[in-house]
């Protein structure tokens, strides 16, 4: 069966250039970068070269990059690492409501187990963090602000530069989770003015299980994983050389291509949104109309439930994801959609289409051919008939 994969925000495939770059480091150049022999040196050189490559893209020193095992790990290292390093200075962290669970659950854990206090700042109806509230939330004992660069569900891009400026003004460290943005947005750490930044490989056509944390020189940070001197003693464990080489290759390509690819994808995305709006009544575009990731179309279909839509699309070979309660492990609908002030009914019917490098107009046409009937079939058997007014729209 034909597959139309529109779930690139969940993960991407490994692109051929990345695979090619990685391959030598699996079975031939397999040495441990910590070994004092030629194989070890070969691996260390590859590691150093990758770090340099990434440092150039992020406009930072190679020493400011810590390789990790995922975006989630980087987020954990950033937040817990700063929290533990600065806990005698203060125990207050500011974040916002639409963060990925990597951030939210880490903060909740610090709250529960270590008595940290966390302020979760509101977002507006488009999912943009309220800057005035964010600034007001800063206290004398605030040690860190952590907000995402772009949202994984609704694609809203945050004013990271402005947030960084606020953090700087109040002399508070700022971490941004750039996992979704790294393929499309400016990630120059100097231009952005950030102290810590998370990037991972599995959203930019590198391997799953690869990630990095940028940490500006001088930032207090405690390691989470002990047992070796790797990554400047901030992340012990033999380096995933092949994965790191792949990550560096992927990030370099992504940043090189980002303007052109962003344009191509946002055209396709608009074509999809327009097509949905024209062929299906009672749909709601979630997130920001303009300040959104070029590959993200998050749409809620009233009167139907997201998981049902997802599975019927899947039956047609179309892979998407949903913010409905039934597709979450907590059985709570998307906290992101709820945070934008949308009622539960809207969250339950939300579907995320996230486009990628291989997505073509033909794919979108295929979706637009299948989707209207799926929605009308499900609406036919639904006892709910909400008007947009019923949900306050």
């Amino acid at each position: 069966m034909k597959h139309v994969y529109l779930d690139h925000a969940a993960t991407t495939y490994v692109r051929s250039e990345v695979k090619r770059a990685m391959l030598p480091f699996l079975s031939q150049k397999f040495g441990n970068p910590g070994s004092f022999h030629s194989l070890g040196l070969e691996a260390k050189n590859a590691l150093d070269a990758s770090r340099k490559k990434i440092a150039k893209i992020l406009d930072c020193n190679p020493e400011e990059i810590i390789f990790t095992g995922s975006g989630t790990e980087s987020v954990n290292l950033a937040i817990k690492g700063v929290a533990f390093a600065l806990r005698s200075k203060g125990k207050h962290i500011v974040t916002q409501k639409t963060e990925h669970h990597a951030v939210l659950h880490t903060c909740e854990w610090l709250e529960k187990e270590f008595g940290f206090e966390i302020t979760y700042v509101d977002v507006d109806k488009h999912g943009i963090v309220k800057l005035d509230e964010l600034e007001q939330a800063i206290r004398k004992d605030t040690i860190l602000i952590s907000t995402m660069y772009a949202n994984n569900e609704i694609g809203t891009i945050q004013p990271v530069k402005e947030i960084a400026a606020i953090a700087k003004k109040h002399n508070v460290l700022f971490h941004t989770d750039a996992c979704q943005a790294a393929g499309f947005s400016e990630i120059d750490t100097k231009k952005l003015g950030i102290d810590l930044m998370t990037v991972n490989g599995s959203k930019i056509y590198a391997m799953k299980g690869t990630g990095l944390l940028f940490v500006k020189k001088g930032t207090p940070l405690q390691p989470l994983i002990h047992g070796g001197a790797q990554e400047n003693v901030l992340r012990a464990g033999t380096e995933n050389v092949a994965g790191i080489v792949g990550l560096a290759t992927a990030l370099e390509l992504a940043q090189k291509e980002r303007k052109k690819e962003s344009k191509r994808l946002s055209n396709l995305r608009q074509y999809l949104i327009k097509g949905i709006r024209e062929s299906i009544p009672k749909t709601i575009l979630l997130g920001h109309p303009v300040k959104r990731l070029p590959n993200n179309a998050s749409v809620s279909f009233l009167d139907v439930e997201g998981e049902a839509i997802l599975l019927r699309l899947n039956e047609n070979g179309i892979c998407v994801s949903s913010g409905s309660a039934c597709t979450s492990h907590s059985l709570e609908p998307s906290h992101v959609v709820i945070a934008t002030g949308m009622p539960y009914e809207v969250a339950h019917g939300s579907v995320r289409f996230s486009l990628g490098k291989r997505t073509t107009k033909k794919d979108i046409d295929f979706v637009l051919k299948k989707l209207p009937k799926i929605i009308s079939d499900l609406r036919l058997i639904s006892p709910v008939e909400l008007g947009k007014k019923d949900v306050g729209l």
Binding site: D303, E305, C326, L331, E345, L380, I381, P383, L386
Partner: protein, 217 residues
């Protein structure tokens, strides 16, 4: 503190063939919205709320002589297992000569699940509400035919395990004017000790507010 259990209790997240079959080909559905509107039912029952993500509506036709369900139609707003379980229920209610009303009143989520070949554990609670909607439809039929002695309302359920607070207590608080979780907590102390029940309480409050006050405010 959680005890380590990497695999977890849940074996699979995916659905059985019977669930898929009923989800992709739901039985006993209306062909059009008009057909649903004009359907002459002997009893109608609705359960759930779009806020909670599941709504089931069931229409039944009853053979008064035999006291059996002649026809069972439904509409479901919900996920695949919600749709499949209501579809299966409609088959069970009207198959063969039709279910005796007294037997239909006793149908449980377990009966439906067995016929579906099981459901992922976390889906059971939310998606198998059809039996309750069917009971409401039968009760509706009993009321319409003035057989009041046969009406059986659903039992109460404990929500807050620490203070033994039931869904009826929460409904009462809402009826007395509590609007928010804080209001209900002030009256009932729900969730003060048993914090795990708070999300469910919030859903119930929304549900009861919709049930009792929708359109009146």
């Amino acid at each position: 503190m959680k005890k380590a259990d990497v695999v977890g209790k849940e074996k699979s997240w995916f659905y059985s063939d019977a669930v898929k079959d009923h989800f992709f080909n739901p039985r006993n559905i209306f062909k059009t919205k008009e057909e649903a509107q004009n359907y002459k039912a002997d009893g109608v029952g609705v359960i759930g709320s779009p806020v909670c993500g599941d709504v089931m509506k069931i229409w039944i036709k009853v053979d008064a002589k035999t006291d059996r369900i002649k026809e069972c139609k439904y509409q479901t707003f919900g996920c695949a297992s919600a749709i499949a379980s209501t579809s299966m229920l409609s088959v069970m209610a009207a198959e063969k000569r039709g279910m005796k009303l007294d037997d239909a009143m006793k149908l449980t989520p377990k009966d439906i699940m067995q016929r579906l070949g099981g459901l992922p554990a976390r889906k059971i609670h939310c998606s198998v509400l059809g039996d309750k909607a069917l009971r409401e439809a039968i009760n509706d039929y009993f009321k319409k035919t003035k057989q009041f002695h046969r009406v059986k309302e659903d039992e109460t359920k404990i929500i807050d395990t620490a203070l033994k607070i039931t869904n009826k207590d929460i409904e009462e608080a809402v009826l007395e004017g509590a609007k928010t979780f804080e209001d209900v907590q002030k009256r009932t102390k729900v969730g003060v000790q048993d914090k795990n029940c708070i999300p469910e309480v919030k859903k119930l409050i929304e549900f009861y507010r919709k049930k009792h006050f929708e359109g009146s405010e």
